[in-house]
């Protein structure tokens, strides 16, 4: 039995293929301008990694998720990314009851029960403040890579710089001004990370945190944000080994469940 999940996010497209209950392959590419083409590309590349003769016809059931899920032409069913994230996280950490999914374009706080069923969620998808996009802009303004941002932000020199603007557009100007005033790069980055944590915290507060706590999505890779959030919440966060594929994994697990329960289109 082979099932697959495909997660078309705003920045990255991810595929996970399950052979029975094990991850056979996972693959990530950047989402191109044509979402439909992106979905074919990421799926074909993932299948070729398993066997160069494989095509989507070899997969028994495919579930699509993410904001581009409706344009995936080869999916049997779509499931929201919120449900998929809860399910994906549950696969790694069965005790998790609160999930923070920080993506490139939105931020969601999710509560789930012991069966990984979503019981409540709060999201911000209206504003770039507190999302990966904010980090991307900050990194490009300062001319550093996203991967370096987190580690550098922890090596504070004088103290975190004050980025007073909430908005990602205005914060960019704050960053330029700080640079001009001679603030240390690491201190500016520390200010950026603290700003993001300040924006995310109310979401978690509103939802109410229950242990265990996990962070997923691309921003979970940023140690500068994860460690500050842990400190502020006073709770340890679990991070999936490759947090970007959590949504696709959840989708693949849903695909397996649908297939086993006989819920099929064809």
């Amino acid at each position: 039995m082979m099932t697959a999940g495909i997660d078309i996010g705003s920045l990255s497209a991810n595929v996970v293929v399950l052979r029975d209950d094990k991850i056979a392959v996972s693959h990530t590419i950047l989402t191109g301008p044509d979402t439909c083409e992106t979905s074919w590309q990421v799926m074909k590349e993932a299948l070729v990694m398993m066997d160069r003769n494989f095509s989507v016809n070899n997969i028994d059931y495919i579930v699509a998720t993410g904001y581009g899920r409706i344009v995936v032409p080869f999916s049997n069913k779509t499931v929201t990314e919120i449900s998929c994230h809860a399910k994906g996280i549950h696969f790694f950490f069965p005790k998790v009851r609160t999930i923070l999914d920080m993506g490139g374009q939105d931020c969601k706080a999710i509560s789930c029960d012991e069966k990984s069923k979503v019981t409540n969620f709060i999201m911000n998808d209206k504003c770039a403040a507190g999302t990966g996009r904010y980090l991307e802009r900050a990194a490009s303004t300062l001319g550093i890579s996203l991967a370096d941002l987190g580690p550098l932000s922890l090596q504070v020199v004088k103290g975190p710089a004050d980025i007073s603007h909430y908005c990602a557009v205005f914060a960019q100007r704050d960053i330029l001004l700080l640079r001009r005033e001679g603030a240390h790069l690491n201190d500016i980055l520390a200010g950026v990370c603290e700003g993001i944590v300040k924006r995310i915290f109310p979401l978690l507060q509103q939802l109410g945190i229950r242990a265990d706590f996990a962070i997923s999505g691309g921003v979970a890779k940023n140690i500068g944000i994860v460690s500050r959030l842990e400190k502020k919440l006073g709770i340890k966060a679990y991070i999936a080994f490759d947090s970007q594929i959590v949504g696709a994994l959840g989708a693949a697990l849903f695909a397996r469940d649908f297939l086993l329960s006989g819920d099929q289109y064809f």
């Binding site: 705003s10 990602a168 205005f170």
Partner: protein, 260 residues
């Protein structure tokens, strides 16, 4: 005595010089990264040079705008809404509601005979401001000042729904990829901008005439979109960008007359 009004904005610094109720000269300078006070000093020098007044030393200086507290050579500062109400009363006396749209803020002020009765300010978010249009201009590679004119040639109605300027960037890119026409996208952008400003106007209560001032008032695309939304004409003056600085100069004049 010479009075000076300085409006220190995030993107532009405006200076107005007055003497006995008469405007002597004006200057508008892009706010660089050198700090608000330095830019304001440069703008003041330009304005003084224009009026050949550099020799005159005795002057009273009032600052307004988001950088007002940073102008260290100003004698005092005045709130934006008070300055706007005073200036509008001088330039556009029929106006009772002022919508000030700058690069980094939007401010709606209700006023009567030069007195501001209520004001609603928004400076936390780029949605609805000039910074939003600046992003649009750079994505599309079209000079900022041409955007408005192009939007008026639109024939198809398109919605640009993203509230956040950063997200609008990706929305516009995907509209371009789906072969939508630039003029239609721009019209959608302006319609969206007008919609974001609407709640602010409703909150203070609309009372005619309505004036559009600030750096963005010159934008014909934005003006048209707001007029369409409100269903009536908007008053505006050609030198709307310096209106805040003019208000500050009027405040300064009032102080001088009252013996400070």
């Amino acid at each position: 005595m010479l009075v000076v009004g300085i409006d220190s904005g995030l993107y532009a610094t405006k200076v107005v010089l007055m003497n006995n109720g008469k405007i002597l000269s004006k200057a508008v300078l892009t706010s660089g990264l050198e700090g608000a006070s330095t830019t304001a000093e440069k703008a003041l020098k330009i304005a003084l040079g224009q009026g050949a007044l550099s020799g005159e030393s005795d002057k009273h200086i009032v600052a307004t705008g988001q950088g007002k507290s940073k102008i260290n050579f100003a004698d005092e500062s005045a709130p934006d809404s008070i300055c706007l109400a005073l200036a509008v009363n001088k330039v556009l006396p029929s106006v009772h509601t002022v919508l000030d749209i700058g690069a980094a803020h939007t401010l709606a002020v209700k006023c009567s005979k030069g007195i501001a009765t209520s004001a609603v300010n928004s400076d936390k978010c780029a949605a609805g401001t000039g910074a939003y249009l600046e992003l649009v201009s750079s994505i599309l590679g079209i000079p900022f000042e041409n955007l408005g004119g192009i939007s008026l040639t639109s024939t198809e109605k398109i919605e640009v729904n993203s509230l956040c300027a950063v997200f609008a960037e990706s929305e516009i890119i995907s509209l371009v990829h789906s072969k939508k026409k630039i003029e239609d996208i721009l019209r959608g952008v302006y319609r969206g901008l007008a919609l974001r400003l609407y709640p602010q106007l409703l909150q203070i209560g609309l009372e005619k005439d309505i004036a559009l001032v600030g750096g963005m008032a010159q934008d014909i695309g934005l003006r048209t979109a707001i007029e369409e939304l409100l269903g009536h004409k908007i008053v505006f003056s050609e030198d709307s960008i310096t209106i805040g600085a003019l208000g500050a100069a009027i405040v300064a004049e009032g102080k001088v007359k009252a013996g400070k």
